[in-house]
Symmetry: C2
């Protein structure tokens, strides 16, 4: 008795999914991940994709974003903190960070008496390309 394993086995599927997420240079969603994974392992299941996304998220390896409506996007957790500006026309995402968030956090913590654990800034707008297209 007592084979205390508290989680995390490195399965082929998990390795595959992590690999795809790592090499994806933009934010990927569950369906895109599923499709790419199926190319390399046709028997992989959509449940496995969701289960692993959720696990990787819990562990802190990836971050979950809701950039638009309907579904989530995921990205590897590397940059300590950054935010998103999405073009409402074409969906292109501009990432940024700002020292203003720290100041804002301090001010809001003071005002609210909360202990703030997370800040997320989402902006929408029109990117240069779309602006040019519509002005012609």
């Amino acid at each position: 008795m007592a084979t205390e394993t508290i989680g995390q086995r490195m399965t082929a599927q998990r390795r595959l999914l992590l690999d795809i997420i790592r090499s994806a240079n933009d934010h990927i969603d569950a369906d895109g991940l599923y499709r790419q994974a199926k190319e390399r392992d046709p028997r992989i299941s959509l449940s496995t994709v969701y289960r692993n996304l959720s696990l990787l998220k819990d562990v802190g390896l990836i971050a979950e974003r809701r950039l638009g409506e309907g579904h989530h996007h995921y990205e590897i957790n590397v940059a300590p903190h950054h935010h998103h500006l999405v073009c409402v026309e074409c969906g292109v995402v501009f990432e940024f960070e700002s020292h203003f968030t720290e100041k804002m956090k301090a001010a809001v913590e003071e005002a609210s008496q909360y202990v703030i654990t997370n800040i997320e800034v989402n902006m929408q707008g029109h990117c240069r390309d779309c602006l040019e297209k519509s002005s012609q």
Copy 2:
């Protein structure tokens, strides 16, 4: 011919829904709205709730927020702009505004070359009450 009405009839249901949203002092969700509406008009349909939420949103009378996971919350559009800090334990929402957002907008517009139309700041944390409860 030519009875050009391009929309918006004031129906009893629409009046009722608006009334409930107005008198709700916190962010309400579709289901809560539906339940409250049914108390006053048992025949009202959930479709009607969703249709009117979407219409009121398009018209700009209410704002749609995704404060947590899963579903949306709605609130009357009055305060020009404010943001949200949600307690992850009990869900209580603290609203705030900050002049830092304007500065951040300017900086990000400059860096990205986008035209920014909307900014949303979502924070999570622990509220005073929950902190006290868990420290006892």
